[in-house]
Symmetry: C2
Subunit: 211 residues, 2 copies
């Protein structure tokens, strides 16, 4: 029996090193598939279509919405961001654990639609460290600091809604922790209902046969 | 900040190799403490007081019940079995993950009293294997087979109430799986409420200071 993959959402404070973490996880283990979001915003310098995002027109995006081709989407600053459904479904079916690197609003939508999904939040090792990252090296403008602050205050509100907290201090340790959490998730009774039913059925048949 | 231990219940079909598994886990990792049950039944040949069980009189056991000195207890075949509270509490406080190797009735009582506890069920790798273990090598009496069967049919009913399923096929792999599940449990958002609060508070203070 082929094991279905788990849908995983990874969120975290801006600058918590999620990108590096995902890259290291993908390089080390082959059971993961990283979902690439679709957006209507223009690519920034250095960004490639199909790598950071799928860059599409507003019309193409709205077409996707209309045909229920996104597992979640949201609109920020007049641009759409969303997760294409086809890739997620095919990879889960193939047994891959699919990772979505999205923000809290998307994460909560995913949990609602896919109660079986796993929500992980990447944290800095301490409040001190977070502070340093937010304030920067004293070279940041008041505006940038305030932007970061507002974002972090918003992000910190929803952490309890996540299933797991991962502290990103030493990268290699964080990769193992993340991998361990996802591995363990495959062992929940909920996710092994078929196996339990099989054992139960066999046992009941045996019990009848013996009596 | 000292991390509090997790209370873990390990159950499983008779003959699933729980005892060997626990021994191997204890030998490999030092973050565990194995709770020893208290009973009023007489020691069997080879059993030592304080090793398999604490063997006590009915009076001593009822005294323990009266002073709320047991985290759970039950009565089987006219004998009491229970888990002394003092050891469990002190070990959890010291940061040890405390393992109780008890049956489903006790497991469910523990979950009710300690919602934060982790219930693990050890399974044989397949229904075939379970069948072989129950029927034995063809040398067992009908009575023994029926006893085993009844026990297993009873045990199989409650598996969904457990949090995790662990398959005991290759011992060393099962030890790692068990350890991984317990390790991951330390990362749940629920169990890191203090850390989350700390980060949130710091962030709010910072936010006030900057504005």
């Amino acid at each position: 029996m082929k094991r279905r993959g788990i849908l995983i959402v990874v969120s975290g404070f801006s600058g918590a090193g999620k990108g590096t973490l995902m890259k290291a996880l993908m390089q080390k283990y082959d059971n993961y598939a990283l979902s690439i979001s679709m957006t209507t915003r223009a690519p920034r310098p250095g960004e490639t279509d199909g790598k950071e995002y799928f860059f599409v027109t507003r019309e193409a995006f709205e077409q996707k919405i209309a045909e229920d081709g996104l597992v979640e989407y949201a609109s920020y600053c007049d641009h759409y961001y969303g997760t294409p459904r086809a890739y997620v479904e095919s990879q889960l079916e193939a047994g891959k654990d699919v990772i979505l690197e999205i923000e809290i609003q998307g994460a909560l939508k995913i949990k609602e639609k896919f109660p079986d999904s796993l929500l992980l939040f990447v944290m800095p090792p301490s409040a001190e460290e977070l502070k340093d990252r937010l304030v920067g090296r004293g070279t940041e403008s008041m505006e940038v600091i305030e932007q970061r602050m507002n974002r972090a205050v918003e992000e910190v509100q929803g952490i309890e809604q996540y299933d797991y907290i991962v502290v990103n201090d030493v990268l290699s340790e964080c990769v193992e922790e993340l991998h361990g959490i996802i591995r363990a998730a495959h062992n929940t009774a909920d996710r092994n209902q078929l196996f339990i039913e099989e054992i139960r059925k066999e046992l009941e048949e045996l019990s009848k046969g013996e009596k």
